[in-house]
Amino acid sequence: MGLLEFAKKLEPDKKKSPFLHTVYDGFFTFLFTPNTVTRGGVHVRDAMDLKRTMTFVVLALMLPFVFGTYNIGQQHFMAIGQHTGYFEALHLKLVFGLIKIVPIWVVSMVVGLGIEFYFANRKGHGIEEGFLVTGALIPLIMPPDIPLWILTVSIVFAVILGKEAFGGTGMNIWNIALLSRVFVFFAYPTTISGDTVWVAGFDQLAPGAAVDYGWADYLFNGLFNAFGWSTFNDSAHITDAFTGATPLGIAAHAGWHEVTEVYAPSQMWWGVIPGSIGETSKPLILIGALMLIVTGIASWRIMAGMILGAALVALGLNAWGATPFMEVPWYYQFYMGSFFFAMAFMATDPVTGSNTPRGKWIYGFLIGCIGMVIRVLNPAYPEGWMLAILLLNTFVPLIDYLVVQSNITKRLKRA
């Protein structure tokens, strides 16, 4: 095995440079499952390990990732009224999307993994895989134009105070990715809420504003010209008909009918709408969700409970019908916002979610209920899932305590 010998040759000395060794070990164990054998206890082990678990979540995120990249471009070109067809000038949209998403992705991985490596070395354990998923989730829940320094600060906050302070992977109380988002949400609200942050590539998001490609048009236009493809047009302006508002933003004050004036239901369902990078395309997220359920990695109980809770509250709000937003038909609530993304990838985090089968139902159901209440009834917050999940994260120990306590009481009653 040539690769193995080569990798072994690179191994830094553990005593001389412990940090390098920790990092090396982290990468080496990705190339090769280590040759450790069982000692004491069981003599054989299941083939499943945490690396594979985490990798499968990342794989499930790949479709929203690709679509998010495309949608950054699509939203941009729809704003300037060029290449508005979904399949027109795909190269421009993808390149534009990549220019936006790659820095976010790199920053989130480098900052997060850097902290992870530092703490792994300090505490003298192997690098845990937890941040793989967190680092893949964070770019998907941010607006495309988020300033990278804000992103960095939010990740440092979330990983150090949210995770390492509690003891590292598996010990945190709140979902790390959501913690970084909620940090941006409260510390820098203008970068992550309102109608003017969801479409990328402009100095300001208002009719008549000029595009701002930076270096992209110099770099790529020559290349695209050589192929005879369409190119970036740096003299374009935002069209007068453009509104940067998300469907939720419109529905919140004007109701469902106004939403459909701007966005067709199919457009919302397939995800060609402004929003956080990875949250918009419902079918692709659901494919990821199904993949996680089929492989048994994410809890179907939490997902089912959440759908049930959200649907019930939405039905109730329909019946109440005091505001235009309450009258939005309950199943159309699922077309808007980030419900499915939160359901598939955020609520199901096994560390911060409930541990018991019954607790998972309760946990999911309450997220569904509370998230919908925040979305519809609270005028300050446009979307409810982030806050609902963090809130329920806080109450997970209580839910599990009650479930476990009922088991204990049952056992005592035998006597």
Partner: protein, 517 residues
């Protein structure tokens, strides 16, 4: 099972419906609501029905009769290569050992009654517990004591006996079972050396002679990987087995419970199904359905303060012979299995046989691990080691100290796995060549809900483990630690994604509670 698939199809169908609905804007909203609610209701009903069907347990087989039937849904059969042929061969082992640490609950340094070089008969006492002199630990064979090996802190690791060609037995006083009362029976068992073979729950330790057990439980089948077929073991010993059950009936105020196997194509041996003066319960399900701890949980769960006894089938046979033949006969039928064994089969030998001698000439390769017991709960031994007292199985599997390229990514692997991320866990039930590789490194506990899938008891294993790690004795007891032994947690440890040593943690917890008294 059923519920997960139903939820899956539910989400699938609803998302499909929403997809179609997204394309058309004509349908009125009330009819949409109606259809979605209808789909959800129908699916929920279907899911409950399927679940009910699953839970009822694939029905009891036709041979089940005379006794309660319990269908267990949770569990996992580890399908391992190297199953034994149903032939029993006389073993040629010459050295046998009694290993004091095998007897859980004995004081660390027992008091020796023999010295190296002494001649002993089978059934002669070798040593006794310092705390209770009346409990004797006896020689399994007659011969010369050739070694008393010491372990840490001068504890006694093993007493090795070179067996005589012709076995001589210590003659024991006759005991009339009809007339004997419990006290005389107990002192007879202690003096004859049988007592240390009786285990008690809680704690899974040698039974406390002061306590009369509430009930006695015997599992008549073993679902562990490559475990021996006890129907084969009991063949020709039916009378001794029944005799042993009768003796046990005198030792408890409650009942003697037999757990019977309802998994097979055919009914188990007549010795089990036709046993007299016992309560029978049939169990159907994957491993650990054959574990006596799981069976107790479903027959008559241990309450706080209860003490019950557990015995293996071969121990019951020994007990029967003890009374019938008036001698301590520790002969055992042991299965030799595993993918590294050339010809897996059963051998007739005596408890504590030397493993190297049992396996001589029957191994494929030198890079293997010899295990006294099964791959989940057994103990790794060198060829110089000896069979543990309660084991009726020797397993030999390859060592797994190799590197595996991109082990976390490949879609399929020739390793049995509970994880559906491996394609091979979806298809078939072929036997796997397992090795001792850990398939990943130890991590913090992250994944939830996987232990519950393989423990068919109403217990929250993950919370129990966390309570033990936190040293919270009250919660441990509340969560049912007293019902468990290592073997019951072994599968949880096998499936654990974080590669945690659950059996050791459980034993630490049990020890902590026992020390508290």
């Amino acid at each position: 099972m059923g519920m997960r698939k139903t939820a899956l199809s539910g989400i699938f169908i609803i998302s499909g419906f929403l997809t179609i609905q997204a394309q058309s804007s004509t349908a009125s909203s009330s009819s949409n609501s109606f259809w979605i609610v209808l789909i959800v209701v129908v699916l929920a009903a279907l899911g409950l029905l399927v679940d009910l069907f699953y839970r009822k347990g694939s029905k009891a087989p036709s041979y089940v009769g005379g006794g309660k039937f319990v269908g267990l849904q949770k569990g996992f059969n580890l399908n391992v290569q190297g199953a034994a042929n149903a032939k029993v061969v006389e073993a040629t082992a010459s050295r046998f050992a009694v290993i004091p640490p095998n007897f859980r609950g004995i004081s660390p340094i027992p008091k020796m009654e023999v010295n190296e070089g002494d001649e002993v008969k089978a059934g002669d006492p070798l040593f006794h517990d310092k705390n209770d002199e009346s409990i004797k630990y006896v020689a399994p064979v007659s011969g010369e004591v050739i070694a008393i090996n010491r372990g840490e802190k001068r504890s006694i690791a093993e007493i090795v006996i070179l067996a005589d060609k012709d076995q001589k037995y210590r003659a024991l006083p006759a005991l009339d079972l009809q007339k004997a009362d419990r006290t005389s029976l107990v002192s007879h068992l202690k003096a004859s050396g049988f007592w240390p073979l009786i285990n008690q729950r809680p704690f899974d330790v040698i039974a406390d002679p002061e306590v009369t057990p509430k009930n006695i439980f015997i599992s008549t089948f073993d679902t562990a990987p490559l475990a021996p077929d006890l129907n084969l073991v009991v063949e020709g010993q039916e009378e001794a087995f029944q005799m042993g059950l009768d003796v046990l009936g005198k030792l408890t105020d409650g009942k003697v419970y037999l757990g019977l196997n309802a998994n097979g194509q055919q009914a188990p041996s007549k010795a089990f199904t036709g046993a007299q003066h016992v309560e029978k319960t049939w169990f159907k399900g994957e491993h650990p359905a054959g574990n006596v701890g799981v069976q107790i949980h479903h027959i008559a769960p241990i309450k706080n303060g209860d003490v019950v006894w557990t015995l293996g089938v071969q121990e019951v046979i020994t007990l029967g012979k003890l009374i019938r033949d008036q001698r301590m006969d520790l002969s055992r039928i042991v299965v030799i299995a595993g993918s590294e064994v050339q010809d897996p089969h059963y051998v007739r030998t005596v408890a504590g046989a030397n493993l190297g001698e049992l396996l001589a000439g029957n191994l494929k390769d030198s890079h293997h691990r010899i295990i006294s017991g099964d791959v989940l709960t057994g103990e790794a031994k060198s060829p110089e080691g000896f069979l543990n007292i309660h084991d009726d199985q020797v397993t030999v599997i390859p060592e797994g100290d190799y590197y595996d390229t991109f082990g976390w990514l490949v879609p399929g692997k020739a390793i049995p796995s509970l994880s559906k991320t491996y394609l091979n866990s979806w298809v078939g039930h072929k036997a796997y060549n397992v090795d001792t590789n850990t398939h990943g490194e130890k991590r913090a506990l992250v994944v939830t809900g996987q232990y519950e899938k393989v423990l068919p008891m109403n217990i929250y294993p993950q919370h129990l483990i966390k309570a033990i790690l936190a040293g919270d004795l009250e919660t441990m007891e509340g969560l049912g630690i007293l019902e468990l032994s290592e073997e019951d947690m072994a599968l949880c440890e096998y499936v654990c994604t974080s590669k945690s040593p659950l059996q050791k943690i459980l034993r630490d917890g049990l020890d902590a509670i026992r020390e508290q008294g």
